[in-house]
Symmetry: C2
Subunit: 274 residues, 2 copies
Amino acid sequence: MNALDKLKKKNEEGKFICVGLDTDINKIPTHLLKCENPILEFNKAIIESCSDFAAAFKFNFAFYERERFKLFETLIRSLEFIPENMLIIADAKRGDIGNTSEMYAKAILEDLQFDSITVNPYMGEDSISPFLRNQDKLIFILALTSNSGAIDFEKTKLENGRFLFQHVIEKINSWNQKKNCGIVFGATNSYELKENVEIFRDLPVLLPGIGAQGGSLTDVISTFIKANRKDYIINVSRSLIYKSNGKDYSEESKKEIISLNNLIEKLYNKENNG
Amino acid sequence: MNALDKLKKKNEEGKFICVGLDTDINKIPTHLLKCENPILEFNKAIIESCSDFAAAFKFNFAFYERERFKLFETLIRSLEFIPENMLIIADAKRGDIGNTSEMYAKAILEDLQFDSITVNPYMGEDSISPFLRNQDKLIFILALTSNSGAIDFEKTKLENGRFLFQHVIEKINSWNQKKNCGIVFGATNSYELKENVEIFRDLPVLLPGIGAQGGSLTDVISTFIKANRKDYIINVSRSLIYKSNGKDYSEESKKEIISLNNLIEKLYNKENNG
């Protein structure tokens, strides 16, 4: 199944939450520290408890680069616990000149077989195109991010009156020949999301910023319901995976994702009945 | 010695060439393939033959991510051959929300002890600030890159009539409290370099794009001589490290960097006498 089909199938099942594995040795329950590989142990438990309820899993690469020699070992071994037909995203924010982006694409989409990767558009088309060669992958390109720094450049106004992030989205639309482009749109920008949802109608959306960063799940869901769209996932990392610091951590994460799914279901039902 | 002092000392010695170790298993001399670790063998020979003539060494991280388990091993073992007081740059183009950039900064500037890293400004100030905490490091932030895609966003005109890359440079100036910011400016943009050299007077410059990408060494050097500046390095990768495909490869790379240094010396002498 290609990446977009995986995403759409989960959405049809009412699953919209992407579990972000930003696994930090300093934040996982301390009883795990006596395990041979605490991060792997943590990932395994979270994956196994949340798989039935998740739309996708996202690995934040920064958190695996700190492991030195064990970096890819833990990453690859974590991947083994994820069920088939689950969308797996490499949150790596890569992007460089053509021959270098090609190496990143090979490393992450071919060697590691990720379905999907996040990339940074700053350097323009030839820095993105090597990621777009395989139509079965899904490439989430940064548009408007969830952090405060989004105001510095992404929300800068251009000569034609548009914001930079809108210009980026328009370019992405023109690069989407193989229907394998998506965008990253921060859930903290609920006004901009509502105002722009039509200009990226053909681009699946990855929305970070719910939870620790303060974005509103209800706002996001309402916007997509009103736009009559089901091709998006909402990433939740810290507020889900670190829900408990005790031995019940994976149980508590499971309860949290179920509770998020229930809230989403209610919003959809309300809209259908209202 | 901090990163900026390393750079300035090399510049004072007439060394401006940064050797880019974009080491690709498919491009190194074939006789190396029988070595236990061909990439390490190649890096060792290039580092040893070029160290006396180089201003810096730059590791393109994309080329080391393809190695799976041996990734950091080859990278770390390569670093051991670089003499003390040489500026070592991680060309990683990282940048993410604050807590994630912090992990990248720890992995690359602390664990791996790189002097310097390239970062992507798209996500704004809080995505860059974790890299700027240590005043002894030198953070090269992308301004105007050497690739054709620079036209898509970096050269987009803003409402105030400035180009995005100029706005980025102005922001970097305001972030440069600890004097540890630099910029990446593509040598292929010789007109823009000449026109803008004054707006980044306090920012050391890393210039890629000479050689395989077609930028002119003479144009770059002339611009900096005219601006009376010595705080820049010119990256050369493919056209230097793959100069020969035979057993003489490191000898030929050495000849090439010496010839580039001689050309630079001539340009400086001509200016001083002319």
